[in-house]
């Protein structure tokens, strides 16, 4: 029971010496070299498959970084009290976005293997009308703009937070609260159009205005599952004792649950309108996914990404226990992969379901790259914003 001031040990804000977490950059780098190396070696067998697998892994870890960036922006925009102790972890996760540009470049080099609109000689009337947005040069220019904006946001929000660890200057927090609103607008626009460019244009005739929101919903599921696991892992490693308590894990679990529901709401809404109107140019996308090869995956997604976790994560006892919250989070990280795979792969495999070794090696490679960056930033600063004006409020936070 915590009442009034509670004594916390400031050393808990640092990773313990000799902790495996300190070697995360190394482990990540090894995984990156191994994963990308093996993928590259397998590439000769099926070059198209390589690029599609790369795109899935790229979209997966982009969503993790973007979800984390949104969580940081949201904390400032809402002047969050409870979440200060996990904000630095989200900032470090978002920092992974900064190296993801390296994973974007190979994608650009394989553009004509992935997107049918790259063949400008064979475009019909509809696609010619979309070429102000699509096209190889625009793909690169937009990509650079997206990454420039995200990198700037990640850097600006994280560096001010780290600077405050030393100075304790409250003006740093106030400035970020002021700019968080405009930054969220910028985030919404860039994430939406990036998902249009990277994923929706796989079926260039098809369009869904809610597609960006769908990708965003999956991203938030991914980041809250990831943060729950990181928090549990760090506590096991002997850090954050007294800072991140069962109350904060409970709240991460609540947000995970909320976005599992939000994801289902958005996913069903998209399906629902297209199913009702039944217009061929819209239904083609679902016909591919409801054909005999992909139908089991679609059903698995509905049950595994919504039905099961909805009932599993509902109880507060589940969210407050490390084991059950960890299991739920790991499951959602897996289901998010199924989701992205389902989003992308029918564009390559058509009506037949396909899963190859390269789907895993690219995940290992890009995941290694992302986690190495996350680990690098994790070791560079304290694990919590040490002198944030709301830190005490966050530490003593309790759920009713």
């Amino acid at each position: 029971m915590s009442h009034g001031p509670r004594i916390v040990d400031a050393a808990q804000m640092n990773l313990p010496a000799g902790s495996l977490w300190r070697r995360l950059p190394l482990f990540g780098a090894v995984a990156a070299v191994l994963g990308i190396g093996v993928s590259y070696a397998l590439r000769g067998g099926d070059e198209k498959q390589f690029y599609y697998s790369w795109l899935v892994a790229f979209l997966y870890f982009m969503s993790l970084g973007l979800g984390a960036l949104f969580f940081v922006l949201l904390q400032y925009a809402t002047k969050t009290g409870w979440g200060i102790v996990v904000r630095r972890l989200a900032e470090n996760t978002a920092a992974g976005l900064m190296v993801m540009f390296l994973a974007f470049l190979p994608l650009y080099s394989g553009l004509n293997k992935i997107y049918s609109w790259t063949d400008e000689a064979h475009l019909d009337e509809i696609l010619r009308g979309k070429m102000w947005f699509l096209g190889s040069d625009k793909y690169l220019v937009f990509g650079v703009v997206y990454f420039a904006i995200w990198t700037f946001l990640v850097w600006w929000f994280r560096s001010g937070s780290v600077k405050q660890d030393q100075s304790g200057d409250e003006a740093l927090t106030r400035r970020r609260i002021f700019w968080a609103g405009p930054a969220i607008i910028l985030f919404a626009l860039t994430t939406t159009f990036a998902s249009f460019h990277w994923a929706m244009s796989l079926a260039p005739h098809w369009y869904s205005t809610i597609f960006g929101v769908y990708y965003f919903a999956g991203a938030l599921v991914c980041v809250f599952a990831f943060l729950s696991l990181v928090v549990i892992g760090l506590r096991r490693a002997g850090a954050l004792e007294g800072f991140v308590t069962v109350e904060h894990r409970h709240d991460l679990g609540k947000l995970l649950f909320a976005f599992v529901v939000f994801w289902a709401y958005i996913g069903f809404s998209q399906f629902f309108l297209i199913w009702y109107a039944n217009i061929p140019e819209e239904t083609e996308w679902y016909l591919e996914r409801l054909g005999h090869g992909w139908q089991p995956v679609t059903v698995f997604l509905a049950i595994g990404h919504f039905g099961l976790p909805f009932f599993f994560l509902m109880s507060r006892h589940i969210k407050r226990r490390n084991l059950t919250l960890g299991l739920g989070s790991a499951w959602m990280l897996f289901m998010h992969f199924v989701d992205i795979h389902w989003l992308v792969m029918p564009a390559y495999h058509g009506k037949e379901f396909g899963l190859t070794l390269m789907d895993f090696t690219t995940m290992l490679g890009i995941g290694g790259l992302f986690l190495a960056t996350f680990g690098f930033f994790l070791t560079r600063a304290k694990l919590v914003p040490a002198r944030d004006p709301r830190l005490i409020e966050s530490i003593s936070f309790e759920n009713f």
Binding site: M1, S2, H3, F268, F271, F272, W275, Y276, N278, M314, S315, E398, F400
Partner: protein
């Protein structure tokens, strides 16, 4: 006893309702609640002008049964919503709409969802009423003039006379030892 009648609170029978003790502030009532809890009392309550964090644990309150009621109501609302639409669309008044099968379940999802939410929300509100024996138009504690401070600056513990451990003299001593400013016997009139 039978089923509780609405608006007739179930309260201790007999002349005396129980004891009412006033405390200085949030911290002292918190410690007093822990003492009453540890003494093994079960039929008692605390009354504060604002929510005192953690008081539920100091009182040793069990988790509410309300979530189970809400879950059951939500599930039956959703199930009922889907079944109702199925019955209407397939049996009672079959109509082919835009060439779709009679049982076009996606079309029924919004209503199913809404009914689930409606039933769950209604169960949460009215279930809370039921567990709290609300609406209750009169309560014996209202006969105490002191108790009027409960909505202003008074912190109170009331122990009801039908508690198995209740003994007017002993319980009164316990409350005083726990730091009560004053203890009074409240009649059941």
């Amino acid at each position: 006893m039978g089923l509780p009648l609405p608006m007739v609170p179930r309260l201790p029978a007999g002349k005396s309702y129980g004891l009412l003790a006033r405390f200085e502030d949030a911290a002292s009532i918190y410690r007093a609640c822990e003492k009453v809890r540890d003494a093994g009392y079960t039929k008692w309550d605390s009354h504060t002008p604002f929510a005192v964090h953690g008081l539920d644990r100091a009182m040793g309150l069990q988790a509410s049964r309300l979530p189970w009621v809400v879950l059951l109501a939500g599930l039956s609302g959703a199930t009922g919503g889907m079944l109702l639409q199925y019955w209407v669309a397939v049996h009672a008044y079959p109509l082919v709409i835009s060439g779709k099968p009679l049982f076009s379940w996606p079309a029924f999802v919004p209503v199913t969802f809404e009914l689930g939410v409606l039933f769950a929300a209604a169960a949460a509100v009215f279930g809370m009423f039921a567990f709290n024996q609300l609406p209750m138009l009169f309560h014996p504690l209202f006969s105490s003039r002191n108790f009027e401070a409960a909505t202003d600056d008074g912190f109170f513990i009331s122990i009801e006379s039908w508690d198995p451990k209740y003994d007017e003299a002993e319980t009164s001593t316990l409350l005083r030892e726990a730091g009560a400013l004053e203890v009074e016997v409240v009649d059941n009139e």
